[in-house]
Amino acid sequence: MGKTNDNLIVDGKRLDGRAFYEMRPITMRINAVENADGSAQVAFGNTEAIVAVYGPRKLFPRFLQENDRGIMRYRYNMAPFSCTDRIRPGNSRRGIEISKTSRLAFEPAAFLDDFPTTVVDVFTEILQADGSTRVTGINAASMAMAVAGVPMRDLVAACSVGKIQGQLIVDLNGIEDNNSEADVAVAMMPTKDRLTLLQMDGVLTKDELFTLLDKARENCMRIYDMQKAAIKNSFKQNPDAEAAVEADKGEMQ
């Protein structure tokens, strides 16, 4: 899954058979962590994230509280078995940066000012990593926050776009990510048409970048519709019944 010299595009298709602007199969599930105030599990192909949200709840110890607003803490963490090589537990520089940019992707959306002295804790665990992990985590976090009842101006939807072997594409998987010419992560409040996260690595012309941003906007809107549907659906069901069923058939197909 590291660097490769192989072709990433064969017969006009990507290695996993996708068209250039085709996302992987997406699954979304609400209520993945019973104890949490809100939780969700999202998979983009083999990339899978589970997110639990606790709060808004009173923040302790007291000297960490802000008197004029609530604060958000965001942990992005890769499970040790999520990657080809084992990830050693503990903070990595990459994890610290992604945790920060992910938190900032939600600060414009959440009405934290209304909850002084409180904290919203967002815990993201990447269970399986096959590219685009941070955006997968953000999509799950957005749903978990909504279910937890954190007031938001809009759901946040996120996706990746990029370029491989001269071709612009969407939703990079692991091997594409590791061998990409450019890799862009975008988060938006789709109905407001506002960006809350933008990170790019690689080399792109201005025009390529702008084309990709437009593709990202389209996909965020599609993801947003799926998020909404998943949340709505979950409220219809009897959650207790659902939990029993899940235990029966295993949690994670």
């Binding site: 104890n35 639990a52 078995f81 999520s82 084992r86 949690e251 994670m252």
Partner: protein
């Protein structure tokens, strides 16, 4: 503490109506993590733990030059309970990992000699990572089921020229020589109870985790809890465990 759960237990009753020696619904699913050499999720009621096995190569210990090794790690992720915080494993996570480790190691389930690549130089190191997703009591029994299920799912990767691991290409299945199970027998007043949920756990006085092999030999014991027990208690708890592990072992088939 004389809680509602306590009052029920001392009258042979339980919050959810179960019998004293009855487990909640147990769900096990293997092969859920694409990048792991072995994986499983185990749920007992709403307690949920994912176990992932990653194989790495390493140097053998000086006194066992022809044996591979096993390392069990546990992380009580902050998502799994409103009480946990991110950080290095505390004493409970450390104890859990070590009890699971001993149950596997001492039962001689894995033939470490078969994990030798080149004597004195290179052996397989098996990392078993236990990722606690939701904590609703009885973590040790759930973790052991998850770990054994992940081991049963484990494949040994092929090696390229004795150096590089060919991830995703496998040499063989990991062979398991035994089929141990762990049962934690709990005591409150003069009553014995199995599989407490989190509320019941707070009412307990003593616990004894007992690992039992399919030949009914005992292969690990660990007393927990802050009350003392009698020799007869121990004997009774061991008998309960021997009977109950027969049941649990069927789930590992």
């Amino acid at each position: 503490m004389k809680t509602y759960a306590y009052d029920l237990l001392i009258n042979d009753k339980r919050i959810d109506g179960r019998a004293m020696e009855e487990y909640r619904k147990i769900g096990i699913k293997r092969g859920i993590i694409h990048n792991a050499e072995g994986s499983a999720v185990c749920t007992i009621g709403s307690t949920k733990i994912i176990a992932g096995v990653k194989m790495e190569t390493g140097t053998p210990f000086a006194d066992t030059p022809d044996e591979g090794n096993l390392v069990v790690n546990a992380e009580f992720t902050p998502m799994s309970s409103p009480d946990f915080e991110a950080g290095p494993p505390g004493e409970d996570a450390t104890e859990l990992a070590r009890i699971v480790d001993r149950g596997i190691r001492e039962s001689e389930t894995v033939d470490f000699k078969k994990l030798c690549i080149k004597p004195g130089e290179k052996v397989w190191m098996m990392n078993v990572d236990l990722h606690i997703i939701n904590h609703d009591g009885n973590l040790i029994d759930c973790a052991f089921l998850a770990a054994m299920s992940a081991l049963a799912d484990t494949k040994i990767p092929k090696l390229q020229d004795e150096k590089t691991i060919m991830r995703g290409v496998y040499e063989s299945k990991l062979e398991l020589r035994h089929n141990p199970a762990e049962v934690t027998v709990c005591k409150v007043a003069e009553k014995f109870v199995l599989d407490p949920d989190k509320e019941e756990e707070e009412a307990l006085e003593a616990k004894l985790t007992i690992a039992v092999r399919e030949d009914d030999t005992i292969c690990a014991l660990q007393k927990q809890g802050s009350k003392d027990v009698s020799m007869d208690d121990i004997k009774h708890m061991v008998e309960i465990a021997i009977a109950k592990t027969k049941e649990l072992r069927k789930l590992l088939k």
